[in-house]
């Protein structure tokens, strides 16, 4: 099975690609952020391309480990086809600005920029040109993906990577994807109109099923219908046979120089695959731990901050296992974490030095997320201070006395009874006891009893 993608994402700029209209198309009435250029008025001429859009595309391409095209002028072409959302009857789209990248084992064929068409509602027959002209980055992969599940993972990985740059439009997602799929030796089918990762997964799952029960799979273009989660053949009228590409005579080509690329490289956020490699080398942490850390840039930033003062191996695992868990439970992205680096560092130090137990640490963490404060103070507030040894002994004794049956079971060889007793101690001490201490004491006292 071979699956590939052509992915479009809007880049985050103030003005459109070839005119100075604002890009906040969702916030305004229809046909408000428009001008003669993005509405295809007779005689309108594109203004020189938006520099930030080009730089953003270069940065995105570098994130995907691509080679930037620096040796030759890059033409902006006219791609001609007839559709109501295309005001000039052609779309301006550049030749590749980058090639030969890779992400999560999938090769990236090329990256280029183009302008967004307007928004056409085919059911109601209406067009809004607010979106027309917004800069898009298009990423084309080679058909290296081997299953719909892999496709889903790849897209998630890609979106994360794009978010690393902060150069694509923030939520709600503006992802648009076309996918192509061929089964063992069969014809290639292209599927358009996919607007989400879930949609891509469903479309591909359906396509695999459909192709398997089709005797002769034709090479065709199909459309994904989100509401029914199926693909249908696209009318040939909607597919242009020949786009009649010509370099746009009103726009001079772009020439990217190596210096520009180096500058962007030096100032950009380190790509996740590079970051992962570096933190493994620099901090000696495990690969699967690093993988989780780099999933979001704020998360790995946090790690490197605390790693300045806390053992990286310990810190990395703790972030992966404990912090990640709490954040997922609260559905809180790392960038919204309210407590400070100092507070987190202190907490980790307290746990590492065994001043408090990991369980207590987690309780303090949960509180810290809700009401950020010095962990020592929270420790007090929650009454989680180290339980006095005598108090603990007394609680263990009480539990042993109150649970004769469990004690009998244990003496008869049922080890699970010990866990039950331990749980009762935790309950009695309101979680303040150290489970390891509890176990030690239980065993000791029970043995002593037995004698």
């Amino acid at each position: 099975m071979k699956i590939g993608f052509e992915i479009h994402e809007q880049m985050h700029t103030e003005s459109k690609l070839f005119c100075e209209c604002p890009t906040n198309y969702r916030d305004v009435d229809p046909n408000t952020n428009v001008c003669p250029v993005c509405t295809g008025m007779p005689g309108a001429k594109p203004s020189p391309p938006n520099k930030k859009a080009i730089e953003s595309a270069i940065e995105i391409a570098l994130m995907l480990d691509c080679d930037i095209v620096t040796q030759k002028p890059i033409h902006i072409q006219r791609k001609h086809y007839d559709y109501p959302d295309l005001p000039s009857g052609y779309q301006r789209t550049s030749l590749p600005i980058a090639e030969n990248g890779e992400l999560a084992g999938v090769r990236i064929r090329e990256v280029h920029i183009e302008e967004d068409p307007g928004k056409y509602d085919p059911v109601q027959g209406k067009v809004d040109f607010n979106r027309s002209g917004i800069p898009l980055v298009e990423i084309i992969t080679k058909p290296d993906i081997k299953s719909p599940e892999e496709a889903r993972e790849f897209l998630q990985s890609l979106i994360r990577t794009l978010e690393y740059t902060n150069k694509i439009r923030p939520e709600p997602s503006t992802l648009r994807a076309d996918t192509n799929i061929s089964l063992e030796g069969g014809q290639r089918v292209e599927i358009k109109n996919i607007n989400s990762v879930k949609g891509a997964f469903k479309a591909l799952k359906y396509e695999v099923m459909r192709q398997k029960r089709t005797e002769k799979v034709e090479r065709e273009t199909r459309s994904y219908l989100e509401s029914q989660m199926i693909t249908v053949p696209m009318r040939s009228k909607e597919i242009a046979d020949d786009y009649r590409y010509i370099p746009d005579p009103n726009l001079l080509p772009i020439l990217i120089n190596q210096k520009q690329v180096s500058e962007i490289k030096n100032n950009m956020y380190e790509a996740p695959h590079l970051r992962k490699k570096r933190i493994i080398e620099e901090y000696g942490i495990e690969e699967n731990v690093a993988e989780v850390l780099v999933s979001e840039r704020e998360f790995v930033d946090l790690f490197e901050e605390v790693a300045k003062e806390v053992d990286p191996n310990f810190a990395s695992k703790w972030l992966k296992n404990r912090l990640r868990k709490v954040l997922n439970y609260l559905e809180m992205p790392p960038k919204q974490i309210p407590f400070s680096i100092e507070q987190l560092t202190k907490l980790l130090k307290m746990i590492k030095s065994e001043e408090i137990t990991p369980e207590k640490g987690e309780l303090i963490l949960r509180e810290m997320v809700k009401n950020p404060d010095d962990p020592e103070k929270i420790l007090e507030k929650l009454g989680l201070e180290e339980m006095e040894k005598s108090k603990l002994e007394r609680s263990v004794e009480e539990v042993i006395n109150e649970n004769e049956e469990a004690v009998e079971d244990f003496k008869n060889g049922k080890d699970e009874a010990l866990n039950y007793l331990s749980g009762q101690v935790m309950k009695k001490t309101e979680g303040k006891a150290d489970p390891r201490e509890v176990m030690k004491l239980l065993k000791k006292l029970l043995e002593e009893q037995g004698e």
Partner: protein
């Protein structure tokens, strides 16, 4: 005010001898009276008198007024003037009221020029005769029964008949120079990339340029000064902020090298060459040195031009789908427009691109180099504007014969030269214009020679 120079008119208005209102009212009246027989205007600007009043008020107060203060200007119908119809003389855009001003219009208004109205033209600038307008052909006021030339037929005829002081046309393969020659007036095609094209409805984006038509050289120079200069919201412009010609066009030809090519003679009717030779003799007598230059591939420019143009025009007309304004172009346009669309559609296909479009871009380089070489050896090239005299309006002529008018003017558009036309004489009452071509951005040299020609009897 007939026969008075543009500069004199301006002085008159500034002095208060003549009010702008009187002047413009007169022009409007004349248009109403005489234009029916010429058909050079498609629409009159109802605001023009108001504008004239504003200018008179400024003058009365002693305020500064712009370079074009009080002059009435005709605008070819492929240039956007907000509130007026940029029809391109086609049914496609018959009801398209411009939603914005072309940059050149903003500049004219800033200099207090008064837009009199929209001029007739060949449909979508596809022609060299003035006969293909959806709104009827334009007549030649200087040669009864003959075509006025095109595609800036309306601007040329309006200037020639005194219905406006100056006019703006556009030149892609000769559309300013050709009608200037046939109508016996002055026309200038500025260097490609000197005058902003924002607001000019495209014929062929690589060649189009807006330029002046005028009764005299100084008027053309002045109007070019106003419209030229970099526009930052446009991608392809020379890095020239502004131009000044008035102080550079003293007609002193000492040490000027004027190039002529035997190719001109080969391609042109002898009746026309008589007048051209006479002009060249005159220029030589005035101190210029005549240099023979070689332009071995000159006649190849025209088919090369049409090959490139057809692809670009096909692309440019995709926006006329009838959804946002107007009608779908293929449904309502005339034969020549359809011919260019069909041709462009055909040769821009994947399988033909290398053979035609890409190859034409190569031949373009060849011709460009040739012209540049010739202009390295000279200051300007001088010769005929058109290879044959204008035919009768309505005469049945083939598309190929029509294209043949463009042999001598298309090279400048291919090569990025500037080119001006000035009246040189006549044959059987038909005006003949002398074409002067200069290097990229060397309008000053061209204007100098043109100014000198005005001294010829």
């Amino acid at each position: 005010m007939v026969g008075i120079s543009t500069l004199e008119k301006l002085k008159s208005i500034r002095r208060g001898d003549l009010t702008a209102v009187d002047h413009i009212e007169e022009k409007i009246d004349e248009i109403k009276d005489r234009d029916e027989g010429i058909n050079s205007f498609l629409e009159i600007n109802q605001d023009s008198i108001e504008k004239a009043k504003e200018i008179d008020r400024k003058i009365e107060k002693g305020d500064e007024v712009g370079k074009l203060a009080g002059l009435g200007i005709g605008i070819k119908s492929n240039i956007n003037v907000k509130g007026l119809k940029a029809t391109c003389a086609s049914k496609t855009l018959e009801n398209y009221t411009s939603t914005y001003n072309a940059v050149v219009i903003e500049r004219i208004k800033q200099e207090d020029g008064i837009i009199l109205g929209m001029n007739n033209m060949d449909e979508f600038a596809c022609g060299a005769s003035g006969e293909t307008s959806y709104f009827g052909p334009t007549k030649n006021p200087a040669a009864a029964g003959k075509i006025p030339g095109g595609s800036s037929s309306g601007p040329a005829a309006a200037v020639a008949s005194g219905l406006c002081d100056l006019a703006l046309g556009s030149d892609t393969g000769g559309s300013i120079r050709n009608p200037a020659s046939h109508c016996g007036i002055v026309g200038l095609k500025p260097t490609y990339g000197l005058v902003p094209r924002e607001g000019l409805i495209d014929l062929s984006m690589s060649f189009d340029q807006i330029g002046p038509l005028s009764p005299d050289v100084e008027g053309a120079a002045l109007l070019t000064e106003v419209i030229a200069g970099k526009n930052n919201t446009e991608g392809i412009m020379h890095d020239v902020k502004s131009v000044e010609y008035m102080d550079k066009i003293n007609p002193d030809l000492e040490e000027m090298k004027i190039g002529i090519s035997p190719k001109f003679r080969e391609l042109t009717d002898s009746k026309i060459m008589e007048v051209i030779d006479d002009s060249i003799d005159f220029l030589e007598g005035e101190g210029a040195e005549i240099v023979n230059v070689d332009l071995p591939n000159l006649e190849k420019a025209m088919p090369t031009y049409y090959t490139i143009l057809s692809v670009e025009f096909f692309s440019a007309t995709r926006k006329f789908d009838g959804r946002k304004y107007g009608h779908k172009i293929e449904d309502v346009c005339g034969d020549e427009v359809l011919r260019r669309i069909v041709r462009g559609k055909h040769i821009s296909q994947k399988e033909f691109k290398n053979q035609y479009y890409q190859r034409a871009l190569q031949v373009r380089t060849l011709i460009k180099k040739e012209l540049e070489k010739a202009l390295n050896e000279t200051d300007v090239l001088v010769g005929p504007t058109v290879p044959k005299l204008p035919h009768d309006i309505g005469e049945d002529i083939t598309p190929s014969d029509m294209y043949a008018y463009d042999y001598l003017t298309t090279p400048a558009n291919l090569g990025g030269l500037c080119g001006g036309v000035v009246p040189a004489g006549e044959k059987n009452g038909i005006p003949i214009g002398l074409q002067i071509q200069g290097s990229t951005l060397d309008e000053a040299s061209v204007l100098r020679v043109m100014k000198k020609m005005e001294e010829k009897e």
